[in-house]
């Protein structure tokens, strides 16, 4: 991990309230280990909002990093104003990665809301490496989607309001995607209620699952101990030192679904 001044190449609206930003950051790219990792962005140099903002890496291309972000508050609003050529102070790559690529299983990649960034990253890496996978993306409405519902090619969209893809939560779409799969493994990232539903679904159907959790973060490097998640298995981590709580920034953000307790 390191702090690098990245140069923004592109920053554009790709769906309702959802933006994609590409930047060059060769030093961080060099240390990048895989989908699931994130960067901490210093959105502004003033100290009226002191903390960096964690953003999952959505793609790596050459020496470029792409992120996908939803405009949520003042800081993401400021991010949308940044123009190509502008400098951005970023810290990364941080956290662990999804562990996948076992030929025995078919990977079902599940993303929702802003959590689709690492999922799209995996999907892209899968295409490059020839790994067959199924993509399931949830959103509230069709305007928030920026890819097509294409079940023939194993891309399933879900919307709460049914305006595109399969209506309802992500679960009916996951069920649909599993119809022709004998040994699925689920990899999911999204808002906590979605992850909780995926966690329950995976447990009920005894499907191996990894989830990448979102967390409010202070430092991103394990020193503030702010971003804790309760473990279900009490394994001691040599990173965060504690049995009950894990630090999302260094132990995570990716966990075996069965190992953590979601609210």
């Amino acid at each position: 991990m390191r702090i690098e001044i990245a140069t923004i190449l592109e920053n554009k609206l790709i769906a309702s309230n959802i933006w994609e930003m590409k930047m060059t950051a060769p030093e961080i790219v060099e240390q990048y280990k895989g989908a699931g990792q994130f960067i901490q962005i210093l959105v502004q140099s003033s100290w009226d909002r002191p903390l960096r903002r964690p953003m999952s890496i959505a793609a790596i291309d050459g020496d470029q990093i792409a992120i996908i972000y939803k405009v949520f508050g003042v800081m993401t609003q400021i991010l949308t104003k940044l123009k190509p050529g502008a400098a951005l102070d970023i810290l990364g790559p941080l956290g662990n990665t999804f562990t996948w690529g076992n030929d025995e299983f078919t990977s079902v990649l599940v993303g929702g809301g802003v959590g689709l960034a690492p999922i799209l990253n995996m999907y892209g890496e899968g295409i490059v490496s020839g790994q067959e996978s199924v993509l399931v993306i949830g959103a509230r409405t069709s305007k928030e989607h920026f890819i097509d519902h294409d079940p023939q090619n194993n891309v399933f969209l879900a919307t709460d309001d049914g305006t595109i893809g399969i209506a309802g939560t992500i679960i009916p779409a996951i069920k649909k995607s599993l119809e022709n799969i004998s040994k699925p493994a689920i990899f999911a990232c999204g808002p906590e209620p979605m992850l909780k539903a995926v966690q329950d679904f995976a447990a009920t159907h005894q499907i191996p699952a990894q989830i990448s959790v979102e967390s409010y973060m202070g430092c991103g490097v394990g020193i503030c101990q702010g971003c804790v998640l309760e473990r279900s298995n009490g394994n001691i981590s040599e990173h965060s030192y504690h049995e009950k709580y894990s630090l999302v920034c260094i132990d995570g953000p990716v966990y075996e679904s069965k190992d953590v307790i979601l609210a």
């Binding site: 002191p50 903390l51 430092c219 490097v221 702010g226 971003c227 804790v228 998640l229």
Partner: protein, 306 residues
């Protein structure tokens, strides 16, 4: 070249920029990201007699020019600290100051007794009598002059190492607590710990911190830190270490003028663990530019009135 050396008690520090307890782990975690060897000293996160898992999330929230935290003294306990962390300090030139928290006078003393029995190059102890986030955080000592003096004098008898009492701003008269710690035999005082604060989400009416209250830190508290340091400076003769919202060399000079001989950088580390080194370079350049050979002569020299 300005002389940045500072002597506190019997310990020489190469420069007056330390990192504050709770903002730098046990000292070596961020060594891949920051040059920890350049720091004046590293103050460890609070260590208690036995491991503590800490408070449930949410533990932190950003606030205007600052943040609230309620970590709850999550730490590995002194036995594991000795086993896992103390050996890491052997090769480290940066002075380590171990921060200690307890819920009873005996607990503080027991930790110090254990530490004094082992061989270690830590240079001193900072005693946390001011954690606002847990009942066992020593806060009952930090708000009471008699308890502060009694605890300090018991700890004094146990060690010849540097003994620093860390003061809380959540009191009526911080100078009186400082005087009590001085009477008890402290070598130095550090101030301030975090201020009790609260943040509320109006959409769901929930507190943004699990237990409601947290400790406020960051640039938002700098004026409070300066005022506290100056009040204590006027009341005691032992050296002071200023803490609270330091992000630049100018902030350091403000604390020096208020009465501090050194400072601890805290929340700024979360944004950049290397900020301490940046401040050292900035301070060196600032003193150089203004022809100031050392900060010694500036300590406490704030002028009042027109």
């Amino acid at each position: 070249m300005p002389d940045l050396h500072v002597k506190i008690g019997s310990v020489d520090f190469e420069n007056p920029i330390f990192v504050a307890s709770g903002t730098y782990g046990y000292g070596t975690e961020v060594s891949g990201l920051a040059d920890i060897t350049g720091l004046g000293a590293i103050v460890t996160k609070s260590i208690t007699r036995y491991p503590r898992e800490g408070n449930p999330p949410p533990r932190i929230v950003e606030t205007p020019s600052g943040m609230l935290n309620s970590i709850g003294l999550a730490n590995i306990g002194v036995d594991t600290y000795i086993k896992k962390m103390i050996p890491l300090y052997e090769e480290l030139k940066t002075p380590i100051i171990m921060n200690i928290a307890g819920s009873t006078e005996d607990e503080y003393c027991e930790i110090l007794e254990i530490m004094e029995l082992i061989s270690t190059n830590i240079v001193g102890y900072e005693i946390n009598i001011s954690c606002p986030n847990v009942k066992a955080g020593g806060m009952e000592f930090g708000v009471d002059c008699d308890l502060t003096e009694q605890l300090t004098s018991r700890l004094r008898k146990l060690t010849d190492r540097l003994l620093i009492m860390k003061l809380s701003p959540n009191v009526t008269d911080i100078a009186a607590i400082g005087v009590a710690a001085e009477k008890g035999g402290a070598d130095a005082l550090s101030a301030i710990n975090t201020l009790v604060g609260m943040s509320i989400n109006t959409f769901n009416r929930k507190s943004n911190i699990y237990y409601g209250f947290g400790g406020l830190s960051g640039p938002a508290i700098k004026p409070v830190g300066l005022a506290c340091v100056h009040k204590v400076y006027q009341a005691v003769d032992i050296p002071l270490i200023g803490i609270g919202g330091i992000i630049s060399a100018v902030d350091v000079l403000e604390y020096v003028l208020a009465g501090a001989v050194a400072v601890e950088v805290g929340t700024a580390n979360y944004r950049d663990p290397n900020v301490g080194n940046s401040i050292i370079l900035e301070l060196d350049a600032l003193l150089n530019k203004n022809g100031i050979g050392s900060v010694d002569k500036l300590v406490g020299k704030v002028e009042l009135g027109l």
